[in-house]
């Protein structure tokens, strides 16, 4: 599991909106995985299992947060989405335009993009991690990519 850490952390950074949240997410996923490790089936892929845990945690937090933040939609729409300034600097991870463009994607597109394009999973594997049909995955992936291209095209 230790060897998977850099990849899991990368996935967390692709999902979360800033570096501090990403490492919090990563930590929560590790704790969850350690607690429920007897549920992992030997012979199945440990990485997919870990990714699924992390993704489900992320969805839970994202939902809770969006309920709490519904009155602050305007802030979300601004271009300054990103670091909290303090803790983010410590990680020294700057994802720049790409990170900002990712942040603006709807969650369902962002997770598809993160699994396939960032983590390099095959469509089939990504669909299994997200527990959605292949067709749903490909259509989310297409929409996410088109949005990214448009946003990054504007930024360039």
């Amino acid at each position: 599991m230790l060897a998977l850490l850099p990849r899991l952390r990368r996935f967390a950074h692709a999902l979360a909106r800033n570096a501090a949240d990403a490492d919090d997410l990563c930590q929560a996923a590790i704790e969850r995985a350690l607690k429920s490790r007897t549920q992992w089936q030997p012979g199945t892929r440990l990485d997919s299992w870990m990714y699924r845990i992390m993704r489900n945690l992320w969805i839970d937090t994202a939902r809770a947060r969006s309920r709490a933040a519904q009155t602050f939609v305007a802030e979300e729409a601004g271009a300054s989405v990103g670091d909290r300034g303090d803790k983010a600097v410590e990680a020294a991870i700057e994802l720049g335009n790409v990170g900002r463009a990712m942040n603006q994607l709807p969650d369902e597109q962002r997770e598809a993009v993160a699994l396939v394009l960032v983590e390099g999973f095959a469509y089939k594997e990504a669909a299994e991690i997200l527990d959605i049909p292949m067709g749903t995955l490909t259509s989310r992936l297409v929409r996410g990519r088109e949005a990214l291209m448009t946003k990054l095209g504007e930024a360039a």
Binding site: L2, L5, P6, A91, I93, V118
Partner: protein, 236 residues
């Protein structure tokens, strides 16, 4: 002929089977705009990979490592499970090995007799030969041609430290590990010749092989760079 955006994207990602891919290539030849879109898809994928690579390469903060290192001292995942399944595990593993040998036996019958076939027998062990040996020696997962007869999937080091590679071809899928000066076949399964579907499902056709690779693996699969370095060192 119009190509749906999903199909074009799947082509750019190497997810189409050869027939569907040919169809897209034909359409691309006739329509430069399609070719441009494919290039854009690949450029975006490259940009995302490149951006997030910095995260995977950055040192992992102590706060994330600590819980895992602490738990590793108590019990590894494997050990945590072993007591629960008890003796039956061993029986099951042996049965699995036996079944694997049977499969191999049947397949060797088909594969070995052909001169220059992918698998040969050498001092009682199955080794890769011909095209398969060549692919194992030279092909990198990141740069191999889309239509390579044998494709390399995941490469990794096993617990003895030997380099192992999973491969998928029309005749056979399997795992080979470098030993001495050749590749010893550790697992062999029937290939995907008859299983072509609209999406190639590179994951599913070799899912069983990959699952087994996961259990043989010490650490994470090799990155593209590590794979290239391993090749430069002749997989030693």
């Amino acid at each position: 002929m119009s190509i749906p955006p999903e199909t074009l994207m799947a082509y750019a990602d190497g997810e189409l089977d050869p027939i569907a891919a040919k169809r897209v290539e034909k359409a691309m030849a006739a329509d430069p705009d399609l070719a441009r879109q494919v290039a854009e898809h690949r450029a975006l994928a490259e940009q995302l990979r490149g951006t997030f690579a910095s995260v995977a390469e950055a040192p992992v903060p102590e706060s994330l490592r600590a819980p895992l290192e602490a738990s590793a001292k108590v019990a590894s995942l494997d050990e945590a499970r072993a007591p629960r399944s008890g003796r039956s595990t061993h029986w099951f593993r042996n049965a699995g090995a036996l079944a694997a040998m049977l499969v191999v036996g049947v397949m060797v019958g088909q594969l070995v007799p052909h001169d220059g076939g992918p698998v040969a027998e050498k001092r009682g062990a199955l080794v890769a030969s011909g095209t398969l040996a060549h692919a194992l020696n030279t092909q990198l997962a990141a740069t191999q041609p889309e239509d390579a007869p044998v494709r390399m999937l995941v490469s990794f080091r096993d617990r003895q430290g030997a380099y192992c590679r999973t491969f998928a071809g029309s005749m056979a899928n399997g795992i080979a590990c470098h030993q001495g000066d050749g590749w010893r076949i550790r697992q062999l399964r029937a290939g995907h010749a008859e299983a072509a579907t609209a999406y190639r499902q590179a994951g599913s056709e070799a899912a069983a092989v990959l699952a087994d690779a996961q259990t043989m693996m010490a650490g994470a699969p090799l990155s593209a760079d590590q794979e290239a370095r391993a090749r430069a060192d002749h997989w030693r």
